[in-house]
Amino acid sequence: MTPPIEGSARKTFAAGLFFLLLAGAGWLLLRHSITLFSGNQMPGDPGPFFLSQLCLTILALAGVLLLVFGGWSWARETRTHRHTEAMVNTVREWSLSAGFVLTLLAMPAAMRLLGTPAAVALFSIGWIYVLLVSISGHSWRNLIEATAFGAATAVFIHLFFVRLLTLPLPV
């Protein structure tokens, strides 16, 4: 039988694990909420936690099913040294996205500390340069291009959002 997620045992296993973790975290959060609830509800009302509990049960069941099925299919696949190669490739592929997320997480703090235009300029210049370097390697031309477009982005954000739409962005 083919694994249900794109025919991949690895993805099916990962999805099962993800659902199980989500269900576990959900149960913990819900238990905390239930202890705070005074319990006053209308007759016939299944209560404020009924649907959440139902969803969590479905999630947990689906998680176990996918985990077992994915794990079983994965174990049956012939293992070769290509797994290590694939993992290295995956890490390499994900590194740009992970770096992008980390710098985005720093954006709100940077906006408060430096002001929105400066934070946007720093983020834009840095990332345009990184992406240009990943295509054609380091060069002064790339740095100048990144600086010009990054600065233009910051100016646009300032003029459009701060001046025109008067959003209370930190300046």
Partner: protein, 512 residues
């Protein structure tokens, strides 16, 4: 009444340069964003939504519908010129559009796509005007059990229409419902999964979630494939097509349009299903099916008409029932809700002028897309040449500012980033993202009506079976979820029987 209101609104629009200018601006932005590889119509709508927060609701909807309609055609530009479909629906556009572009007929291909898109949009709009009031009139008899059943039906339909396993997509839908439960319960004031965090007490704000899932999530996904895009750019060739050549394909356009509207009207069936059926149908009817895939104009015209018509179709359940027809209308519904408007059957009774406003917005957006699209065919090539590194960074900044702009709250930026990561991880492990957004939107509707129904019936679940509409919808839901299991079982059974009978028959079919 509605027709009279339609013409009054149309006359108001036509004589207002500001409104026409806004339609034009929305159409240009939609065309440009839609034409950029990696930016889907949904993403274009999500990232431009915060711009409308300071606008009046009607003006905001006019602008967003212009972006929406034009980005549908915009998505075809990158599909035809670069074989990079921005949306699943554009996959069928590139099958014949890209070979046309490669053979020096890029201008003709873009022209075919534009005209088919306009015709499809017009047919979709006409059927929207005719069918939405009928469906809304019918839906005024709906009570809590029916609304609960419709909400569940929407989630299950989407799961059924999603690529891959229906069961897995349904589970993702339940994750969305679960996220929709976060915050204070309206009926009992109970806190749910809030961790005592004030920012979570009013629930997850829909817009940062949507911007994260469809905006940032797609950028992160594109970064994984960064540098993989083809670099060869074809010549555009002649742009204008003889009218006779276009007119010769009116049947193809009409067939695609009707298929697109009706499939689009099924909650959550979506444009991707509509275009695949339109393409398959046209190929089946063609006298030269073997040329499909090599640059046959019918193979481009049919899915393009269906794609655009499905927009009108997907607006039918949105306006009439308050259930989004696909992902883009889910985002549009989010925008309506941000502006204090709740689509549904009561909209026709309480605010018919606003319904006309939506119809006129669609009409003007189609006209603007046609006019600007013709003028921009040559410029479209320039758009596709904007380096992706500039676009990704610019859009990411737009996502951050847009998420902040909703409530001037930095916490929304973190929510947006978190859901961007969720969208990315979902894509990487092969889980569909759309049911999550649907669950988040429809979950609260489902919960509220489910609990109200049970309160009315004093806790008896029979209320859902006693009422014919809810019973039918729930029956269809059960069937849709069970169908893949039944099909798989039947296939296995057939396979084992056939295996026993035909051990000596060669396994390859002719032409394989």
């Amino acid at each position: 009444m509605l027709l009279e209101s339609f013409f009054t609104v149309l006359a108001d629009f036509a004589t207002s340069p500001a409104m026409l200018g806004l339609v034009g601006l929305g159409a240009i932005l939609g065309l440009v964003l839609g034409a950029i590889p990696g930016i889907s119509s949904t993403m274009a709508l999500a990232i431009l939504m915060p711009v409308t927060f300071t606008m009046e609701p009607g003006v905001a909807i006019l602008f967003l519908i212009s972006v929406f309609m034009s980005s549908v055609y915009g998505g075809s530009i990158s599909a035809i010129l670069m074989k990079l479909p921005g949306t699943p629906a554009s996959i069928f556009t590139q099958i014949d559009g890209y070979p046309m572009a490669q053979s020096g007929r890029a201008g003709h291909a873009l022209n075919y796509a534009l005209v088919a898109s306009t015709v499809g949009g017009m047919v979709g709009l006409a059927l929207l005007v005719v069918l939405a009031p009928v469906l809304a009139d019918f839906a005024t008899n709906f009570r809590s059990p029916e609304f609960a059943a419709v909400a569940l039906f929407g989630i299950v339909m989407l799961s059924f229409a999603s690529n891959g396993s229906t069961l897995v997509a349904s589970v993702v839908g339940f994750v969305g419902i679960l996220l929709g439960m976060v915050g204070f319960d309206a009926l009992t004031d109970a806190q749910r999964m809030t961790m005592n965090q004030p920012m979570l007490q009013s629930g997850l704000n829909l817009i940062p979630v949507i911007i994260g899932l469809f905006g940032l999530g797609e950028i992160l996904q594109n970064l994984v494939r960064f540098g993989d895009a083809p670099t060869a750019r074809p010549a555009i060739g002649k742009v204008m097509l003889p009218i006779a050549e276009l007119a010769r394909r009116w049947k193809v356009m009409l067939r695609g349009s009707v298929i697109g509207t009706f499939i689009g009207a099924i909650p959550a069936a979506g444009s991707a299903v509509a275009v695949s059926i339109a393409y398959a149908q046209e190929r089946r009817l063609s006298k030269e099916p073997e040329t499909f895939g090599t640059g046959h104009p019918d193979g481009l015209v049919a899915p393009e008409a269906a794609n655009s018509a499905s927009v009108g179709g997907s607006l039918i359940p949105l306006i009439a029932l308050g259930v989004p027809g696909d992902t883009i209308t889910a985002v549009l519904m989010g925008a309506l809700m941000v502006h204090g408007l709740t689509p549904g059957p009561l909209l026709f009774a309480n605010d018919p002028t606003f319904v006309s406003w939506i119809y006129v917005s669609v009409l003007l957006a189609l006209v603007a897309t046609l006019v600007l699209g013709l003028g921009m065919i040559r410029a479209a090539v320039l758009v596709t040449r904007i380096p992706p590194q500039l676009m990704y960074v610019f859009i990411a900044v737009f996502c951050v500012i847009g998420a902040f702009a909703i409530r001037n709250d930095m916490n929304d930026v973190y929510v947006m980033i978190a859901f961007g990561v969720v969208g990315f991880v979902f894509s990487r492990i092969g889980l569909p993202v759309t049911p999550l957004a649907f669950g988040l939107i429809l979950g609260p509707i489902l919960e509220e009506n489910l609990r109200r129904s049970l309160m009315i019936s004093q806790g008896s679940w029979k209320i859902f079976i006693d009422r014919p509409i809810s019973a039918t919808l729930l029956g269809v839901c059960v069937l849709l979820v069970a169908l893949p299991l039944i099909t798989a079982l039947l296939h296995r059974l057939q396979g084992s029987l056939a295996g026993k009978k035909s051990e000596n028959i060669p396994k390859n079919y002719p032409g394989e």
